[in-house]
């Protein structure tokens, strides 16, 4: 109710210049940041690289497409913010779980961080780098500290660290996402199946889960990565493969509980098929734990990918882990590995914050550890 008042007072004016800011002031950090970020990025880009954008806009080039995407996002954010502040929200209207997650300030910050890195890794290379991506820019000197020319300095091979950082973001975040989602998919499917079906299926799956959970997974992954030549997809697959048991265990517990609920018996009595009950009724009710588990699985997968690259076992291409490895001891050249290390922690923190918020909203008592 307080927020409504603040919402309208001067909100429209502020929205014109800083879409999202009124929402942030009203405590809706996530929505606000989500609107503010593309807006600020677009302005920054226009200030810094107006020439590039104007020459490429409308062209079919990567730069042109990326610029259009960013400008469109900024425009959308602007329109949404204006509309949002000029229409007062229905007071105390039943807030759905999703709205509550987005309006949780910590989750908001987490989502904003994730969006920031997603945008950076997708739009960054075409918009922020002078040359075509993939080609490491050789500079005049090695180990230059960060400057305007080299926002993250240069490394021992005289490469621009920012460029390597952006490449690494795509590898690390991409594989992390792929592996996390893959693991979640396997885990949710097996867990739900086992928990819902029960009987020997449940026993077999859960014994497998127990077994996998007891293994030092990363050590085995290290051995695996050393023995096999891994491409991006196989690497993601292997990481996914060590991710699923934790999720399967959580989802199974939820499915077991749900399978005993009366509405499930009722559905059966109505002749609804088992599969339909599982997918249409049981799984949606477990969305909280599934979401939390997935976020944590992605976080874990990121850490594993970075860890393998750090040990020199990941892909040949750049990765944040590789950058951290190349950074070696933090001093004196802290910028080589520092940005990647900090970003890695930030992204994982963001995922954890979102997971925590989801957990609080869906089931404050659930304790999910992956």
């Amino acid at each position: 109710m307080q927020s409504v008042a603040r919402h309208q007072r001067g909100g429209v004016g502020l929205s014109v210049f800083l879409p999202g800011a009124p929402q942030i002031l009203a405590g809706r950090v996530a929505e606000g940041l989500l609107a503010l970020m593309p807006w600020l990025s677009a302005i920054l880009l226009l200030v810094l690289r107006a020439d590039l954008v104007s020459s490429q806009l409308g062209e079919g080039s990567t730069v042109g497409r990326a610029s259009m995407a960013l400008l469109a996002a900024a425009g959308l954010a602007w329109a949404w913010s204006l509309r949002d502040v000029s229409t007062p929200p229905e007071a105390g209207a039943g807030q759905g779980a999703w709205v509550r997650i987005v309006r949780d300030p910590w989750a908001g910050i987490g989502l904003a961080i994730l969006l920031f890195f997603a945008g950076l890794s997708l739009l960054g290379p075409p918009l922020l780098l002078p040359e075509d991506p993939g080609r490491t820019q050789t500079t005049e000197e090695g180990f230059l500290p960060p400057s305007m020319d080299h926002p993250m300095g240069t490394d021992n091979a005289k490469s621009d660290v920012f460029e390597r950082f952006l490449d690494g973001a795509r590898v690390t975040l991409g594989i992390g996402l792929l592996a996390g989602l893959g693991g979640a998919l396997i885990g949710v499917t097996l867990g739900a199946w086992a928990g819902f079906t029960g009987g020997w299926v449940d026993r077999v799956v859960m014994r497998c889960v127990d077994f996998f959970i007891a293994l030092p997974k990363l050590v085995l992954l290290i051995a695996l990565a050393a023995l096999y030549d891994l491409g991006p997809v196989t690497l993601a697959l292997f990481i996914a493969f060590v991710q699923w048991p934790a999720l399967a265990r959580i989802v199974r517990a939820e499915a077991v509980a749900l399978a005993q609920r009366e509405f499930v018996h009722a559905l059966r009595a109505f002749g609804v098929s088992e599969r339909r009950i599982l997918f249409r009724h049981v799984l949606p009710n477990a969305q909280g734990v599934i979401l939390v588990g997935t976020a944590l699985a992605v976080a874990n997968a990121l850490l594993i990918e970075a860890g393998l690259s750090f040990l020199g076992l990941g892909l040949d291409s750049a990765s944040w882990g590789r950058l951290i490895k190349d950074g070696g001891a933090l001093f004196p050249h802290w910028w080589v590995g520092g940005f990647a290390g900090m970003s890695l922690v930030l992204v994982v923190v963001a995922l954890n914050l979102v997971a925590d918020a989801v957990r609080d909203v869906f089931d404050p008592r659930a304790d999910v550890t992956v």
Binding site: G134, A157, G328, A329
Partner: protein, 577 residues
């Protein structure tokens, strides 16, 4: 921290008495008796004998009162001596130097002017027609277990080295030796017989003598993994093996019985070699006092070291050069135009500047500028990416499917494996290569292994499944690249890039036989020219060796001959504290 770095003496005097009084004067406690131990059956009796002999000799030769005696030096290097300190199976630079100059002895050794001087051999006679040499051995050199070193040991060592079953890497040294070239004339006289050739003296300073009474029964093929090398290596040199912690450190102890004429007991009581893989960690440990000598620093770390008090940098020309080797057995790399194009695609000048800064020199062949046969007028392939592209086009490699990598008519990509060892410099080279070769449409898959594995991988004549490799190599003073490039070397350990080029074969066959340098010089120029044309390797640079030293460590000599050449003469400066 509790290192055994001695507190430097303020004055001289009877050390033991002073220590007993607990005064604040020189305090370099005598080390406890040598206690080599092992649970390997072979080594148990050996260890006992070594311990007993060392105790006996320590009593017989107490540490002199000279304040330079005593203390420990901790030397850090990047790799473990995996094959152990067995000279017959070794191939790596630092362990070889440890064998030649610390644990074992050689017949001769190089004086400062790189000419041989007496060591185990007190004199020698080269036969006039150049077909044989006779060494007279000292009779006062003892194995560390108390047995005397005799001509039989020399015969044993050279025969094993020449036996292909042993797998001795530098078997090429004995190219001109007769089948039963080595014989003992008496207990202390040995004769070698060979076809006359150039630089005959070279092997005698590079081949450490191994104990026949311990290894005589070991079949040549089992020499490689024999526990002698790691658990109880016995030598006759100024330092005695004390302990080995795998992957971590080697500890050697001063040999009190080492003959006075050869330098006698070393000043330092203990020599510790620590394995610290990262150059920056070695430099850091040096600065922090955890080690006293940090070997093989990378330039960025060397400069950091040079800027600190209490440590100094020893930068000196080494014999070691870095290169990218190509496997000419592969379809793409067999084409000389492709190899030339690869070299031209690389900006080697920038590479040297990036990696070594001032601590390195460009090189076009394996003949270094300090060598008498060096041709100063030699011109290597220029850095010319455009030219490289054209040359690849001409060789039939074009990007037919537009994915940025060239293919031949059959549709095979110009893509190969690149193997190298784990080391920042090499990995950086690979990274830069990926960019620059990528620019001309060539791709490779990087494989990082360790030193020893890289050697084993390349040195296996029966399975050469690599495409290319980045390697460093330190030739002897006597350059003989027959092992590398001769068509017959395909079947030997060093023949990674063996070419099938009659012209080169002719030069390689002729050069080692010419004993007169003036006569050989024009042929050497021709040889270097041919190497540049054929580009079996893309030669990168000769590196200066960069070693960080504790400033209080005195008497250290390091030069082209090596960095451990005079360890027995190293001492802690008694003047400083």
């Amino acid at each position: 921290m509790a290192h055994l770095r001695p507190i430097r003496a303020l004055g001289t005097g009877a050390l033991i008495v002073v220590a007993a009084c607990g005064g604040d004067a020189p305090d370099r406690p005598e080390l406890p008796p040598l206690a080599v131990s092992s649970d390997v059956p072979f080594c148990q009796s050996v260890a006992q004998a070594v311990n007993a002999y060392h105790a006996e000799q320590s009593a017989a030769h107490p540490r002199p009162a000279d304040p330079r005696y005593g203390g420990t030096v901790v030397v850090a290097g990047g790799g473990d001596f995996r094959g152990g300190l067995n000279a017959l199976t070794t191939g790596d630079q630092t362990d070889q130097e440890t064998e030649l100059h610390l644990l074992h002895v050689t017949l001769t050794r190089f004086a400062a002017d790189r000419t041989p001087e007496p060591y185990l051999a007190e004199s020698w006679t080269l036969e006039d027609d150049g077909s044989g040499i006779t060494f007279r051995l000292r009779d006062d050199v003892m194995w560390h277990d108390g047995q005397p070193v005799t001509a039989e040991d020399v015969v044993f060592t050279y025969r094993r080295a020449m036996d292909p079953a042993t797998g001795f890497l530098n078997v090429g040294w004995f190219q001109f030796y007769d089948a039963d070239a080595v014989e003992a004339l008496d207990d202390h006289t040995v004769r070698f017989a060979f076809t006359p050739h150039a630089e005959v003296m070279d092997p005698f300073s590079n081949m450490a003598i191994m104990p026949q009474h311990l290894l005589g029964d070991v079949p040549p093929a089992e020499m490689g993994g024999h526990p002698f090398g790691t658990d109880c290596p016995v030598g006759a040199g100024p330092y005695v093996f004390e302990a080995y912690r795998p992957g971590d450190q080697w500890v050697l102890r001063a040999n009190p019985a080492f003959p006075e004429d050869l330098g006698g007991r070393p000043f330092l009581d203990r020599y510790v070699y620590r394995v610290i893989p990262s150059s920056s960690t070695r430099a850091g440990e040096l600065a922090a006092g955890g080690v006293d000598v940090a070997l093989g620093l990378e330039p960025v770390d060397a400069e950091a070291v040079a800027a600190r008090d209490g440590v100094r940098l020893a930068a000196f020309d080494s014999r070691s050069f870095s290169f990218i080797g190509w496997n000419p057995r592969l379809p793409g790399l067999s084409d000389v135009r492709v190899r030339r194009a690869l070299t031209m695609a690389l900006d080697r000048e920038a590479l040297l500047e990036t990696l070594r800064g001032e601590y390195g020199t460009r090189v076009e062949t394996g003949v270094p500028d300090f060598h008498w046969a060096y041709d100063p007028d030699l011109q290597g392939p220029p850095h010319d990416p455009e030219g490289a592209r054209a040359m690849l086009d001409e060789a039939g490699w074009t990007d037919r499917d537009g994915d940025g990598v060239r293919e031949n008519q059959a549709g095979d990509e110009l893509r190969f494996d690149l193997v190298t060892n784990s080391n920042t410099e090499r990995e950086t080279i690979a990274r830069i290569m990926a960019d620059e070769l990528g620019d001309v449409g060539v791709a490779f898959d990087l494989q990082v292994v360790d030193n020893q594995t890289l050697g084993a991988r390349l040195g296996n004549p029966t399975n050469r499944d690599f495409g290319s490799f980045i390697l460093g190599f330190a030739p002897d003073f006597n350059i003989n690249e027959r092992d590398f490039f001769h068509s017959s070397s395909d079947a030997t350990g060093y023949g990674w890039s063996a070419l099938n080029d009659p012209e080169l074969d002719r030069l390689l066959d002729t050069l080692p036989r010419i004993r007169d340098r003036d006569q050989a010089r024009p042929l050497w120029a021709e040889y270097q020219q041919r190497i540049v044309e054929l580009q079996p390797y893309t030669y990168l640079f000769f590196s200066q060796r960069l070693n960080g030293l504790n400033a209080d460590l005195a008497g250290v000599e390091m030069d082209l001959r090596g960095e451990l050449i005079n360890v027995p003469a190293w001492y802690w400066n008694p003047e400083t504290n």
